[in-house]
Structures are given as C-alpha cells and as structure tokens.
Symmetry: C2
C-alpha cells in the first residue's frame, strides 16, 4: 500500500491527501510532527534527504518528495491532468508559481501565526504578507473569465493553489477584495470527493 | 520563431537558453533589464502577469512562464527527459527542490552581491547562506555514487540545478567541501552543445 508521510496542518501534505482521496486510492498516512523534528530523523532522511513532508513511499519502497511532483506522478494519465503538451506545461507553470511566489509567503505566515512565531518578526511578516497579496492578485487576474486555472477544468494546478489559499485567512490574509478567487475556492470545494484539510 | 524574454545574468533564463541551444532550436532572445522594471511594464505583464523572466512566447503567441515549466515543455519527448513515470516525477522532484530549497538562497544571495544589495542586510544574507549550504549538502549526498540527478543520465533536472550552483561562488558560497558536486558540475559543463551563462 502507498504510504504518505504527512503533517495534518500542512497544505503541502493536504494536496496529496486530497488527490489520493479523489482518485480513490488507498493509502496509509503516517503523521510526523515536524515541529518536533520528526522529519529530520536518520530514518526519515533516508527516505527524503531534504527532510520534508509530504513524502510518498511506493509499493516497492521507492520514495518521492515535493508535493507537486507527487501530485504529477499520481495524476498523470487521469482526468486531473490535461492531455495537451501546452496545457500540461501550464499546469506546471502554476505549480511552480505556487511553490515560488505563493507558498513562501502565504503558507509561511500561516505557519508562524499557528505557532506564535510571528511575534518579534513583525517586519518580515509584513513583507511576506505584501508578497502573498501580490500572488493573490496574479491569481485574481488570471481567474477573470476562467473557472479553473488551466484548460477550463479542475486539475492538480487548482489543488496546488487551493491548498494554502483556502486557509490564507489563518495567516491574516483578507480575501474579501478577491471575488474571482472566492468563487473559484467554492468551485474547488464542490468537486466530487473533496475533503477538508483537517481530515486525516 | 520562439521568443525568449530573458535577462542575461539570470540563471533561470540560462536554463532555457542552454536547453534551447542543446536541442538545436532557433529562438529570438529579448533582453529585459529586470533591475529597471522592464519585466513589470503593461506590455510584458500581458505576457506574464507575474512579471518575471524567463517567459517563452510560442509561434502562435501563447506564452509560458516559470523556467522549469518551460524546460519541461521543450524537453518532453526528447533525451533530456526520461521516459518512465517514476523517473519523470523524480525530475520534477529535483526541479521543485531547486525552486523552493535552492534558488531562494543561492540565487538571491548572488543577485544581492551582484547589485550591492547585500550591504545592510548581513543577518539575512547569513541566514540565506546557511540554507543555501543545506541545499548543497542535500545535492552532495544524492550525487554520491551517481553521475547525474535522475536515471543516471543528463536531464533537465541537472540543467535546473546547474544554473545557479555553478555560479554559487559569485554569492560567496565555497564549493571546496563538495567534491561530488564539483565533479558533477564538470560533467554537466562537458555535455555536447554546452554554453556558458554569459553567452547570449
């Protein structure tokens, strides 16, 4: 059986949990408390030398890391990934946007707030909030006239961006000025087999 | 003809320049001085709302952003991308590692040093250098016993990681303690059709 090394609070882990569930694949979820160093043990570093969750262990013991690479592996050949070369590259474009221009700001501020680490680093929080809003604005612009990010249909690009956008308020982000984004969040949440981030 | 919106100093741009050259594809390179806001004009934002180079404009006028997504689009179906599902996902794993755990530290510090922006932010430079060395250590561990990052052969995973690693010294990183990494840099630089980052 597939094994998912995970941390329930993580949006990166949630991407994989959500996709596995929507694909109807069985998996064993192994919770690691990353705040207690459980993703930096010798045992786990042998699975992912970068010491991060999510990491997926396949039936043959091979391990795959990076939430969006895992998503690609699971989605390829399914309805969650378009077929044309350009649309597939556009899915990757939005997933790299998510990891470079979105997650380091929106997810990191949420993590700091969750764990009381925002106190004493107010300047850095403000700077990251600004960049997080920049990312939300890019998404809002793109969604004007579009139901989903790529090819007019739900794909792993939407899952990647949904994961931390739908909990951005937990990091103090106000989504009120982003009506296209809020409609898209509703569309993603109404997909068959959707589960909340809190569901293990 | 393909048009590449680029900035010569950029390792992200270099990835695409290098791959296009090694694939033998003709392209027009359009230099934008990102330090002067040339990637934030209304004209360019219409091509990439995130305002970043590299951006590739296809024959039909479609635009594709994010260096590693562009690489995937160009490499798919060629020898620069392995054929098996797991190896393709491993290529993505290392490209996401590059954008999340490597580029924000090694490339950003190099950019700051190039443009005199390291002065006055010594603490942040030190923190980013530490994380950059963490990324180099993960690479060194993986390369022990391997010639290339995935499937024992040169791929876009190597190009993605080479782009900023081979100029890490320009950001003050010392590669002396990383012998596997230095041998791998030599192997990448000796591939047919290799060009230096300074070649437009």
């Amino acid at each position: 059986m597939l094994k998912l090394y995970d941390f329930l609070e993580s949006g990166n882990g949630y991407k994989v949990r959500l996709l596995l569930t929507q694909l109807g694949l069985s998996f064993e979820r192994i919770e690691l408390d990353i705040t207690q160093g459980e993703s930096r043990t010798p045992d786990f570093l042998a699975r992912n030398p970068n010491g991060r969750i999510p990491t997926l262990e396949l039936e043959d013991g091979s391990c795959l890391a990076e939430s969006n690479a895992i998503q690609w592996y699971l989605a390829d050949g399914t309805d969650f990934l378009p077929a044309s070369a350009l649309e597939r590259a556009q899915v990757l474009q939005w997933m790299f946007f998510e990891q470079y221009s979105h997650e380091p700001y929106i997810a990191v501020v949420r993590y700091w707030v969750h764990h009381g680490m925002d106190v004493g680093r107010e300047l850095e929080v403000a700077e990251r909030r600004k960049r997080g809003y920049d990312a939300l604005s890019v998404m809002e612009t793109h969604l004007d006239g579009r139901d989903f990010f790529v090819a007019g249909r739900y794909s792993i690009a939407d899952i990647a961006l949904y994961a931390y956008t739908h909990v951005a308020d937990e990091g103090g982000f106000d989504l009120a000025p982003y009506p296209e984004l809020r409609s898209w969040l509703d569309r993603v949440a109404s997909q068959p087999g959707h589960i909340p981030i809190t569901r293990s």
